[in-house]
Each structure stands twice: as structure tokens, then as C-alpha cells.
Symmetry: C2
Subunit: 321 residues, 2 copies
């Protein structure tokens, strides 16, 4: 049988790739050599089978997604990925599963120069906990408390496709095969907007990544910054699949879908050209969708400026079904 140490050696241990990793996997701790010109950004996400992903999820995509959601947190701070730890509870040491999971994980890690430096493996109900480390020059992190009245609100990429896939899986909507496959790709292999986040340093003010649904996530910026927002609901970016759906579905999935891993950020109106330039330089579309206001709360308006009243609860792990 594959031991815990064989498992780590076979699927997760590679020669060190980064010069700032002094000790990697295989000691009591990893050792990082800090960058004197940067602060260290740290985030941790735990993914549970049956909660964040379907039982029996394809392991290559799962490895990708577990790291992607953490990279997305770095992106939302404007931080550059450095390294991560992986703690993994597995019902059994299935070698095919491990080979595919580690490939999906490490391929995305290599794309961002982010090194696996340690972690833990144990037997238990499938649970994947990644803690990620990035670096950002002092004072340049994109924090949730930095939005100011008058700021534009921007969204990267498009919203709602992961929720569309979920609607297909749940048979809430009757999707054709290629629509479901494409939407499922957005759900299972999200693209963290790391390059955009870094390009927005010194340009954007506040940022958050959209993981639980836009309306709930933007509320964190509004609360921390003590401001409100007006969102042009018909300006929200839908991809071609969601654009083909009814207006009410389109709006609901973009506002409260979740699992998008796009960036929602604010920037002064004087920075519009700079935002568009940063987006182009990082190969990421961005859309201006509203404005930060002094008055607290989130106001949704249609193209005629009428204020809408929509049910837009975002996902909460303890109060959502």
C-alpha cells in the first residue's frame, strides 16, 4: 500500500523552482526568504466534497480549481503568487486519482510560478485546504476598505456561467449539450485573474474576487469602505451562453450566481484609460458596471435608471440550503 510519505514523494515533491524557497517539502516547516520590498499576502481556502464540488469530481479539474480559487484571492489583492501549502484528507490513497489531481494542481501552479512548499496528508472525508502566499509592494494592495464615492465599479470577464452550469446539472434549465459543456468548463476550471490584479496596482482602489455572488461580495467592499453603490444591471457582463437566456435568469445568475472568480474592483473615473490599458496588457476584458456613492446600500438600476428590487442573496455556507 502507498504510505503517506511515498504519496507525498511521488505526486507532490519536485526539485525547488524558486530561489526564495530555502526549504520546501520534507522538513517540519518550509522556509521562505522574504522579499524586502514587499508585504506577504496570505489566504486560505478549504474545499469540501459535496459542498464545493460534486462527489466523484474529475480530479484533474479539481486540482486546478482548488488552486485557482486561492490564486483568485491573491489577484483580488494585486499580489504576485509565490508559493502554497496543500493539506489533503483522502478516503483512500488512489494512485490514479492522485496522479490526475496533482497534475491539474501543479500545471496551474507552474503557469503562475507558484511553488508547492509543504502541507499535510491524512485519511478522512475528501477535503482540500490550500494556503497561498503572494507578494505585493507596501501600500499597493487592493483592499476592501479603499473604495471612495465617485469611483467607477468594474468587473473582469463575465459573470454567471458557473451558475448556468449548476442550473443545467440540477435540471432547472434545459441546456443543450455544448452549452452545458462550456458552462461546466467555467465552473470546473475557473481562470484566476492574477495578471489583471497585478496590473491594477496603483490604478484600482478596492477589489474583491466574486466567489459567493456579486451582490454579496460587493457588499463586503461597501461595508468595509462605508459607502454605497449603484449598479447598472444591464451593463453586467454576460458571456454568450448566458446572454441567450431570459432576462430574469440572466440578471439573477450574474448578481447571485457565485463561483465566478472574476474581479470586482473600483477605480477613480480619472483612471478609466489606465484601467483599460491594464486590462488589455493582461489579456482580460473589463466592463464598467456602476459607481460608488456616499449613500450606504446597493442600488440596482435598469437601463432607464429605474431602481429594481431583486432577490439577490449570495451564498452563505451556514444559512444557505
Amino acid at each position: 500500500m502507498l504510505s503517506e510519505f511515498d504519496l507525498i514523494a511521488r505526486y507532490f515533491t519536485r526539485p525547488p523552482r524558486r530561489q526564495d524557497v530555502s526549504v520546501g517539502i520534507g522538513d517540519d516547516c518550509a522556509l521562505l526568504i522574504p522579499d524586502h520590498e514587499a508585504q506577504l499576502a496570505i489566504s486560505s481556502d478549504m474545499l469540501v466534497e459535496g459542498r464545493h464540488f460534486f462527489p466523484g469530481a474529475e480530479p484533474h479539474a479539481l486540482g486546478h480549481k482548488c488552486l485557482a480559487v486561492n490564486l483568485s484571492d491573491l489577484a483580488a489583492m494585486g499580489a504576485e503568487p509565490v508559493a502554497f501549502t496543500l493539506a489533503l484528507a483522502l478516503p483512500e490513497a488512489n494512485q490514479e486519482w492522485l496522479a490526475r489531481f496533482s497534475s491539474g494542481l501543479l500545471e496551474l501552479a507552474d503557469r503562475h510560478g507558484c511553488e508547492l512548499i509543504g502541507g499535510d496528508t491524512t485519511k478522512g472525508p475528501l477535503n482540500i485546504c490550500i494556503t497561498i502566499f503572494g507578494k505585493v509592494p507596501p501600500g499597493q494592495a487592493l483592499k476592501r476598505d479603499a473604495a471612495r464615492a465617485g469611483d467607477d465599479i468594474w468587473i473582469s470577464g463575465n459573470l454567471g456561467d458557473a451558475r448556468l452550469a449548476l442550473a443545467g446539472y440540477r435540471s432547472e434549465l434545459d441546456l443543450d449539450e455544448s452549452t452545458l459543456a462550456n458552462a461546466a468548463g467555467r465552473m470546473h476550471r475557473p481562470t484566476p485573474r492574477v495578471e489583471l490584479g497585478m496590473a491594477l496596482r496603483g490604478i484600482a482602489r478596492a477589489a474583491i474576487d466574486v466567489s459567493d455572488g456579486l451582490s454579496g461580495d460587493i457588499a463586503h467592499i461597501l461595508k468595509k469602505s462605508a459607502v454605497g453603490a449603484r449598479l447598472q444591471i444591464d451593463a453586467l457582463p454576460a458571456g454568450p451562453m448566458l446572454a441567450a437566456q431570459d432576462q430574469s435568469i440572466r440578471r439573477r445568475f450574474m448578481l447571485a450566481g457565485g463561483d465566478d472568480y472574476e474581479l470586482c474592483f473600483t477605480a477613480p473615473a480619472s483612471m478609466r484609460d489606465a484601467v483599460l490599458h491594464a486590462a488589455a496588457a493582461s489579456g482580460t476584458a473589463v466592463t464598467r458596471v456602476g459607481v460608488i456613492e456616499d449613500k450606504p446600500g446597493l442600488r440596482l438600476v435598469d437601463r432607464d435608471g429605474a431602481i429594481l428590487d431583486l432577490e439577490t442573496d449570495s451564498f452563505d455556507h451556514f444559512t444557505s440550503p
Copy 2:
């Protein structure tokens, strides 16, 4: 019902305590200001209900233990605790459980000046993943690959009490009430040897914390350092409870018990006085138990110098029962 955000705010969010924590709980990432004179030591441990602790474990002790096992990894590198993240999967948001768990966790954190800076909470089978950060001056970390032939081998505190408690719980041994209660205290509330680890910088060479059982854990030092060891089995430190047991149980529990969270370290013979001084200064007993040798492998000898052949498998999460 308590939401995920209320839960974090109520039980885990406090005013920042450390000046090197620039952003704590409540943003996409925490931000640490690095110490220019130090390397960053990072370790991650995942504890699963029914595997690392009993179902229904007392939550205050559980909070203590989850952080203690991570602090023990810092101790084994000689690192000073700085901060940690907590990712928590809970079957339900039980407020009494949360209050006691967070008290046990944060009391130990405060004792070591180690700040909770972020994490994640989700619904799922009970699983606790902590990633801890410490600092250590460059070149002074106690690494597993640093043992040299001729080094003394030392053990902090004493070994085998957690295994004794397990034997009581499993009715392998008939323990009286106070013995079981005392041994259980060692199992449920281990003392991480943080001060000793820091005091051994520049004195000890290699170190590891004893979590899976001494014979298995010391093997990691021997392998990484390409050396062997001779252990005086009757020199191993037993506490008074274990000392009252039969020789064969005493030996087995000290060599292959696990859950000890003592330090096993090596130091040149010329450093004996310095080791004893460091131990006294940190209020921790240490015992010299053997010597590092060129010849690979672990040799156990009794007080007459005869080599013993004992079954000493340590715990492995995938091959152990």
C-alpha cells in the same frame, strides 16, 4: 441562524495584536510585513474527526491541540511564532462549541504571541486545518538534514503518555482513574516546546517533533542526514505514569506511541552544557538518549549494550489501521 460572516466576527475576529500584521481577518488576503532579518517558517496540519481526535472531543482542548501541533512544527525548526490561518469545516454552526473551541485556540495563541490572521469556514465533516507562520534568523533553522556522526541525540520532556491514554481508552490496559486522567491531559493538551526550540538555535543541529512515534520520526532525520543512530532504549524519558508500567509496554509506547509533541534533536557532544543551559532557560527537561553514527539505520540497545530487535512501526495515515 448564525451566518458564516457572523461566526467569524463573533468567535475569531479581534483587534490586531501584532505590528507586523498589516491586514488581518476580513479581506481577500491577510498582509504580513516581513522581518528583514528572518526567514519565514511555514507549516500546515490538518486534523480530522475520528482520525486525530475522538468524535465529540471537548472543544476547548481541541482548539488547544490544533494549534499546539502546529506550534510544535515551528519549535522543531527553532522558529518564533508569528501568526496562523484557520480553515474550519463544521457540520453545523453550534455556538457553544464555537465559543469553547475558539477560547482554547486563542488562549494558546496569546501565550505565544501568535495572531489569527485569516482563514475559511465551511459546512462539512469536522476538519480543522491550521497553517502557521514563524520566523527564524537565516541559517539558524534546525533542519532534518543537519545531523552529523558523533552528535548526541536528545529528547525533551517525556514520551509515551498520549499512547498510554489511548491504551486506557481502548481498554488495552486497566488504568486507574487518575492515571488515565493525567495521561489523557498529555494527549488532549500537548505542550509545544516553542521556547526550547528557539533556545536551541546555534546549539542543536537537526531537530524534529515527535508526532508519529520516535522511531519513525527519528528515521526522517537519519534519512535526510544520511546517517544512522544508536538509541539507549532504557535512557528514553518516561513520565511517572508510564514508568509504573511493564518494561515492554514502556519501551513500545515511548518508541512508537505518537502524539508526544516533544522535540528530538541532535547536538555536538561539545554542546552538552549549552543544551542543558538552553533547556533550563526554557523550563523544559531534556534527556540524552543516544548518538548519531555513520552506519545507516536505527539501533536500539539496552543498558548492557545488547542490540534489541523491536517492532517499532510508527503511525502512517494510509498504511496504519
